[in-house]
Amino acid sequence: MAFSNEQLERYSRHIILKEVGAKGQKKLLNSKVLIIGAGGLGAPAAMYLAAAGIGTIGIADADEVDLSNLQRQIIHATSDIGKAKVQSAKETMEAINPDVTVKTYRTFVDSENISELIANYDFIIDGTDNFPAKFLINDACVMAKKPFSHAGIIRFKGQLMTYVPGQGPCYRCVFKNPPPKDAVPTCKQAGVIGAMGGVIGSLQAMEAIKYILGTGDLLTGYLLTYDALKMEFRKVKLPEDTSKCAVCGENPTITELIDYEQAECDGKAL
């Protein structure tokens, strides 16, 4: 596939980079990334991935755009209120870059649908806001040997880590099990500063892009935490031994996907 002059111009700042070049840009255009959750994290991730020319972007979310989303979910506009989030997200991504094919999945992920959903994608972005979904995405990606970026945001804090099969711990290695229902507030209850989704979601997009390009060091084996009030980033090294993990260890006890119970007000993307 040769680039059109328009594509050369659109991606010129990528192609000039020696780590990307025309070959790297072609890799991006031939890649497929699935974003689960079209919310605070998924919005900036989706927009940067679309702008970068990720050829196929899947986006999954069952919700509709709500007025209270707009403080952080920058892929949606005021005129999108009431519209399916995946549709609103698709329209924004296609407006940014017509090279991108957007596939929409108007559903919440569960143990029944997630395996089929992730099967056709090269990299998965967890942009969900609740522990049941995060453990489900982790377990499904481990079982299907898919790399993914985990992230979470609340108040003025955010965190992320990257899982690549065979290259370090999974989310469950670190966090074992979901906390008891209602033990941890959701961002709906606790609040979140809008730009936090921009910071962390953009980092997730960056990890996806680096993974596809095969360049640089990924956030595998580390958890990056960001405290905006203290203006501190910390890169915490995670234990290397994954052998005893219940899902990615040598003798996994979790061999089927689990639908954990969700807190009542949960279930919406950040």
């Binding site: 002059n5 050369l8 010129s12 025309a22």
Partner: protein
């Protein structure tokens, strides 16, 4: 580019774009080649002929020849160095 008096492995015309896409288009064409292969790059007089050869040299490729086509365009013959 019939006025080139020796064979190159590929040719690219960058007279239809402006800086910095001139270099981007030449770079993209060079990436398609293997080490040691040659590319003929047709460019306009002025800014392209001043900047593109220098940028290509900075990327580590070998400039073999710059031919004046006599019609305000030039053809730069480059050998690809590295992968």
């Amino acid at each position: 580019m019939t006025d080139i008096n020796f064979q190159t492995d590929d040719t690219v015309d960058i007279t239809d774009v402006v800086c910095p896409i001139t270099f981007v288009k030449a770079k993209a064409a060079l990436e398609e080649l293997d080490e040691g292969q040659t590319l003929a790059i047709k460019m306009n007089d002025g800014e392209p002929v001043q900047n593109v050869p220098r940028s290509i040299k900075e990327e580590g490729h070998k400039i073999l020849k710059l031919l004046d086509n006599g019609d305000s365009t030039y053809t730069l013959i480059v050998e690809k160095v590295g992968d």
